[in-house]
């Protein structure tokens, strides 16, 4: 699963994680450079990169995170990008608009670059393409629906 970070200056960053629950109840987290372990004790979450030192972490329930004096928006699993150029991705709306057409349904396989939606914004129809290959987890909008900026449209895993 990919996690996207958008800072207040529109700089993008992402992290890829794979989580595997182990029999012990601990969760193994695989990322590009290695693995970490996530453990819950007394309802509190701790993470370790070396299985020696454990660091407390906190659930984030929304989309906001400030890191070193920079505000970020954080999203999981989809690529939020502009829709007006019909660019790749665009599974989260970047501006208010209306859904004109939906080409996919849950369970569908999509390839990177496939057109999944058509959205009308600023009086122009825009093709919204997937930036990732994967399986459609959920389609959260329907044809004719008006959407706000920042709204999740489709989840692809």
């Amino acid at each position: 699963m990919r996690y996207y970070f958008y800072d207040q200056n529109s700089e993008k960053n992402f992290v890829d994680l794979e989580l595997h629950e182990q029999e012990s109840g601990e969760i193994e987290i695989k990322f590009n450079e290695g693995t970490a372990l996530l453990k819950k004790i007394n309802t509190k979450h701790f993470i370790s990169f070396d299985q020696i030192r454990w660091q407390r972490i906190f659930p984030i329930f929304g989309d906001n995170i400030s890191i070193q004096n920079l505000n970020h928006k954080i999203y999981r699993g989809y690529f939020p990008s502009g829709v007006n150029q019909g660019s790749e991705g665009g599974l989260i709306s970047q501006m208010p608009g209306k859904i004109v057409k939906v080409f996919i349904k849950p369970g569908d396989k999509v390839e990177k670059g496939d057109v999944v939606l058509v959205m009308e914004a600023m009086k122009m129809e825009n093709e919204v393409k997937s930036s990732v290959s994967g399986k459609v987890e959920s389609v959260l909008v329907s044809e004719g629906q008006a959407v706000e900026s920042g709204q999740v449209l489709v989840e692809i895993n």
């Binding site: 906190f58 659930p59 004096n69 954080i74 999981r76």
Partner: protein, 474 residues
């Protein structure tokens, strides 16, 4: 104490008041509004009242509505906290007319201390030193030179109508005064449309030092020693300490400034909690700035070093009850306390930065106190003050208090919202601060905001991604 107290405030101070009322056995009554339907302070109030409206003017500043609700709820007293209606003499008067007690000083004290020019005159009459200078405007360079000779250089030449650092010049001698006089006059005319100038003593390396007062209706006026609040940005305090590191072990100066504050409070027949603010120069001469006729944000550090509960005693004083202590000798300094104001603000620009609190956590321990109104999933809007909490540490001495407050700050996690925590960390680690040698120019001169750690490591991103994941699946 079987009394009903209506709290006309919100945020951390409303919680602080509610806790004190509850401790005294009274009933705390709190407001909720259309703007803030679930304010944190309701959790600590025994009764809740709906105050309709979506702006501060319709709610916490709505005098008639508040008085109407106070009567309806059969409140014995109103506690205004700080800000909002706390220093509004007409509100204090109106409350009194209804027979409800206003927890604060009598209206005349609020009125006379609220006007800077009037309060300066009253202070002078009471024999309290005010910044020496010309009485009214000066017309000629020679007049300015005469005054400068009297009060000694350096002097500050400034526009009568001035403000915001404009139309001001420091002059170190006659030559500079001659040179700058016409320039400041021109600047005053072009900036404020009024060329009139004042000359007053320039306080070199100034410190903001204030004295806590607690008084009652029986004529008892006590001081609870001083606080130093020299670390400021935009003329607002960020870090406060008690006692003042600048006064240090100079007990003569300490006694002198505290007794001066008591003298002024007596002069205006002060009868509640209040604070007399002074500016102190590098030679430890001090001058009256203003008097705040309310409980102040930074009151906890005084509570920590004196072991006296100011909020409880302020309420007791309003009901003519005996205070927790009997004499000035009962009030002694033990150790050192530091308060950090935790604000929703950008650490670099030091400007408010409203946003969402996604989650938060902190750790208490020996000597640590955190007065706050943080709640998870809570929006900090631009309608209210950006301060969300006050982290206070008390230690055996100043170095212990610094150690404790730094550790507590490291353990304070506020997720989502941008805060001034990164800036506070830089200040607490900085030499001038650690040496206790800062002045009110600290932030302008030392510029701690330029030493912020702005590097975001891949590990931080990874951790936040995991935090997002557990937030989604929890």
């Amino acid at each position: 104490m079987n009394k009903r107290i209506l709290i006309c405030n919100r945020g951390e101070i409303a919680i602080r008041i509610a806790k004190a009322v509850s401790e005294l056995g009274g009933t705390a009554i709190g407001f909720y509004t259309d703007f803030e339907k679930e304010p944190a302070h309701l959790e600590y109030c025994q009764e809740w009242i709906y105050l309709s409206g979506t702006t501060n003017l319709e709610t916490y500043l709505n005098q008639d509505k508040i008085i109407e609700l106070a009567q309806k709820s059969k409140a014995d007293a109103i506690h205004p906290g700080y800000g909002f209606l706390s220093e509004n003499p007409s509100f204090a008067d109106k409350v009194k007319e209804t027979g409800i007690i206003f927890i604060g000083p009598h209206a005349q004290a609020i009125h006379s201390m609220g006007d800077k020019a009037v309060s300066k005159k009253i202070a002078k009459d009471a024999g309290v030193p005010v910044v020496p200078g010309s009485v009214g405007k000066i017309d000629t360079i020679n007049e300015a030179k005469d005054i400068a000779k009297n009060i000694a250089y350096p002097v500050l030449l400034k526009a009568v109508a001035g403000g915001g650092g404009k139309g001001m010049r420091v002059c170190n001698n006659d030559e500079e005064l001659e040179k700058f006089f016409p320039a400041v006059q021109r600047e005053a005319k072009s900036s404020f449309g009024n060329p009139d100038l004042l000359v007053e003593k320039y306080i070199v390396n100034p410190h903001h030092i204030e004295v806590q007062i607690l008084a009652n209706n029986k004529g008892d006026v006590f001081h609870l020693y001083e606080r130093e609040c020299s670390i400021q940005r935009r003329h607002q305090k960020v870090i406060e300490e008690a006692p003042s590191p600048f006064i240090g072990s100079d007990e003569k100066t300490r006694q002198n400034i505290c007794e001066t504050a008591v003298k002024l409070a007596r002069h205006v027949q002060y009868d509640s909690a209040g604070t007399v603010e002074f500016i102190m120069g590098e030679d430890k001469s001090f001058y009256f700035l203003e008097m705040n006729t309310r409980i102040q944000v930074e009151h906890p550090i005084t509570e920590e070093i004196t072991n006296i509960d100011l909020m409880v005693n302020m309420i007791k004083s309003a009901f003519d009850m005996d205070l927790d202590f009997k004499s000035q000798e009962d009030i002694q300094i033990r150790g050192h306390a530091i308060e950090l104001r935790i604000c929703a603000e950008d650490s670099e620009t030091m400007l408010p930065s409203p946003g969402m609190i996604e989650n938060y956590d902190y750790e208490l321990g020996k000597g640590i106190r955190f007065d706050h109104c943080l709640r998870p999933n809570r929006e900090i809007s631009s309608n209210f003050d950006p301060m969300v909490g006050k982290l206070v540490a008390r230690g055996f001495d100043r170095s212990v208090a610094i150690r404790k407050v730094r550790n507590a700050l490291n353990k304070l996690n506020i997720l989502g919202l941008k805060t001034n925590i990164p800036l506070l960390k830089v200040i607490l680690a900085e030499e001038t601060f650690q040496a206790g040698q800062y002045t009110t120019f600290y932030i302008d001169k030392i510029k701690p905001q330029e030493n912020l750690n702005l590097n975001i490591t891949p590990q931080e991103l990874l951790i936040h991604a995991i935090e997002k994941e557990i937030g989604l699946t929890n």
